[in-house]
């Protein structure tokens, strides 16, 4: 068996989360469970990216590793949009790919990687029934606009939405900065890591399993993640 050994609960999905920091990962674990509405397992594989554009560079080898070396059902990836193009419904048109949209680029990188992968090994005799990711690793990609702290403030500050950010991009007057978002969440733009993790989990836990507000206020970035996750049909 390849390292790392994956000890799994047969009825739970096995996921890998690729994020920029332990704080992001802690928040995503909570949010993914809210969307899936069921517990899941994470692989004993600590994936981390150094932010954009590293995520795009490391995604193909990560997908290949998950495919060949693990029994992961899915991979969750969330990146900050920073000042890049925000994903919109127009980008969802069949065959469309916006060259500066990070969701479009990550989906493209994922698609290109899995396209030529051979099928995974068939389950051994007596193994539990095939899961959703047995043929290939599923993907769920989200975009935090402009940073994940905006998601943390969802429901606390009605002025912080994707629509407000898009309007600001169009007018050339951003409604807030990443630094301001940090101040609002942490009370400083230099939070310690443990405090960042604590605040991240506190804020996303406020939604208590109901992510409709997040999907309403962040329809493209969080909505895309939620739609991807719900599309994973559990076997």
């Amino acid at each position: 068996m390849a390292w790392p050994f994956v000890a799994s609960h047969p009825s739970r999905m096995k996921l890998a989360i690729l994020s920029e920091s332990p704080a992001d990962e802690a928040a995503l674990r909570v949010l993914v469970e809210f969307v899936l509405a069921r517990p899941f397992e994470t692989l004993p594989l600590s994936l981390r990216a150094r932010g954009w554009p590293s995520v795009e560079q490391v995604l193909p080898p990560i997908v290949r590793h998950l495919h060949f070396q693990t029994d992961a059902d899915g991979l969750v990836v969330v990146v900050d949009s920073d000042d890049s193009v925000v994903h919109t419904p127009a980008h969802e048109a069949p065959g469309y790919h916006h060259p500066f949209c990070r969701i479009c680029r990550l989906r493209h990188a994922f698609r290109r990687t899995v396209r030529n992968l051979p099928p995974r090994r068939p389950p051994a005799a007596g193994a539990p029934p095939a899961g959703p990711g047995d043929a290939r690793v599923l993907r769920a990609i989200g975009l935090a606009v402009p940073a994940i702290e905006a998601w943390y403030l969802c429901g606390r500050d009605t002025a912080i939405t994707e629509a407000a950010w898009l309007e600001g991009q169009a007018s050339g007057r951003p409604p807030y900065t990443r630094r301001e978002l940090k101040w609002r969440v942490y009370g400083t733009d230099r939070p310690t890591l443990p405090f960042e993790v604590k605040r991240a989990v506190q804020e996303v836990s406020r939604h208590r399993g109901d992510v409709r507000r997040l999907e309403h206020d962040f329809p493209a970035g969080f909505g895309a993640l939620a739609r991807d996750l719900r599309a994973w049909e559990v076997g």
């Binding site: 981390r48 150094r50 230099r190 310690t192």
Partner: protein, 343 residues
């Protein structure tokens, strides 16, 4: 505390200036002036302990002689301190002070001088940290942290709250360890030992990894009950895994921005050097805290990252560390055959 430093003929810093923030990360090739800047601060500390020349109007530099002028943040903005020497002297050994007239000026200088005596520079040496030191009397970390065991052992008794925070941070960052302990050895020496979380045999400092000892030394700086007024730390990334560099940054921010960590003490100005693009990456949101040291021919100088006109645009497309490595920002070694651009 120090707002800016101007250099004239000080080693490779022939005509250079640098503005300083509460936190400063210096990057650049060897010989670009990073260590010279720290040496200038140490010289300032040394001379601040001696009688100074009180002047009206800053002394003019002798032709070819080294001169270093220090400017300060409020409330010391009216004071200017100059280290200087004659043209035939190698080391700046004269200190001139210009301060406002009268008792108030003298009081400000006395206060500033006391703070300048608190400047400390560190270059941690894990071999030195592995040798049991004598029990500490001054409870202050040496420049190579060779007395780490003695300092921590002393703090455990004299500053239990600071010690508890330090040990708590150590356990959180390195969960394979359950805590620290100390063994008294012959001749008043004390040995640092670390208790593994799995209950196995405690490990003495001489068998700990370089990274573990460096982390402990950085935590000792960050949690010092009476920290220096200015901390200069060379090779801040030394022995540290790239993913753990965030902890190094947080520890140094604890000094320079104590309120961000919930502390109420006075800020410590921090000047750290690194060659790690990964550590540099962590400052993309604070370009004002990054100083690029560069060298062309025999001249060295400094540029603040925030002063580069297109830095925000460049950061949209690439990591700060990668931009630095690429040479777009400067602060990289000269290539063989490159024409020195001496102005």
């Amino acid at each position: 505390m120090i707002a800016a430093i101007e250099f004239r003929n000080f080693k490779a810093l022939r005509s250079a200036a640098v503005k300083l923030e509460p936190f400063n990360l210096l990057v650049g090739p060897s010989g670009s002036g990073k260590t010279s800047l720290i040496q200038a601060l140490l010289r300032l500390r040394a001379l601040a302990g001696l009688p100074a020349e009180h002047v009206v109007g800053l002394p003019a530099a002798e032709a070819g002689a080294a001169q270093i002028t220090f400017h300060f943040q409020p409330p010391y903005q009216e004071l200017h301190v100059v280290l200087h020497c004659a043209a035939d002297e190698i080391v700046c050994n004269r200190l001139a002070v210009e301060h406002p007239p009268g008792l108030e000026g003298e009081r400000l200088w006395a206060e500033l001088r006391a703070r300048l005596l608190g400047i400390r520079a560190f270059l941690f040496d894990h071999y030195a940290m592995g040798v049991p030191p004598r029990e500490a009397e001054d409870k202050e970390l040496n420049s190579n942290a060779g007395n780490l065991a003695a300092v921590l052992a002393a703090w455990r008794t004299s500053a239990p709250a600071a010690y508890a925070h330090l040990e708590g941070d150590f356990r959180r960052i390195m969960p394979e360890f359950a805590g620290l302990d100390f063994r008294a050895l012959a001749g008043d020496h004390v040995e640092l030992v670390v208790r593994p979380a799995d209950g196995s045999m405690p490990l003495s400092a001489d068998v700990l990894s370089q990274g573990t000892l460096h982390l402990l030394a950085i935590l000792a700086l960050a949690h010092a009950p009476q920290p220096p007024t200015i901390v200069c730390l060379e090779e801040a990334d030394r022995g540290t895994h790239p993913r753990m560099l965030r902890e190094v940054r947080d520890a140094l921010y604890r000094l320079s921005h104590p309120a961000a960590s919930g502390e109420k003490r006075a800020p410590v100005q921090v000047i750290a050097t690194t060659h790690s693009p990964y550590l540099l990456d962590l400052y993309k949101d604070h370009p004002e805290e990054v100083v690029l040291a560069h060298r062309r021919g025999r001249q060295a100088g400094f540029t603040r990252l925030a002063e580069l006109p297109d830095v925000r645009e460049l950061l949209k497309e690439a990591h700060l560390g990668d931009l630095w490595y690429s040479g777009l920002l400067g602060g990289v070694p000269e290539e063989p055959g490159e024409e020195p651009n001496i102005e």
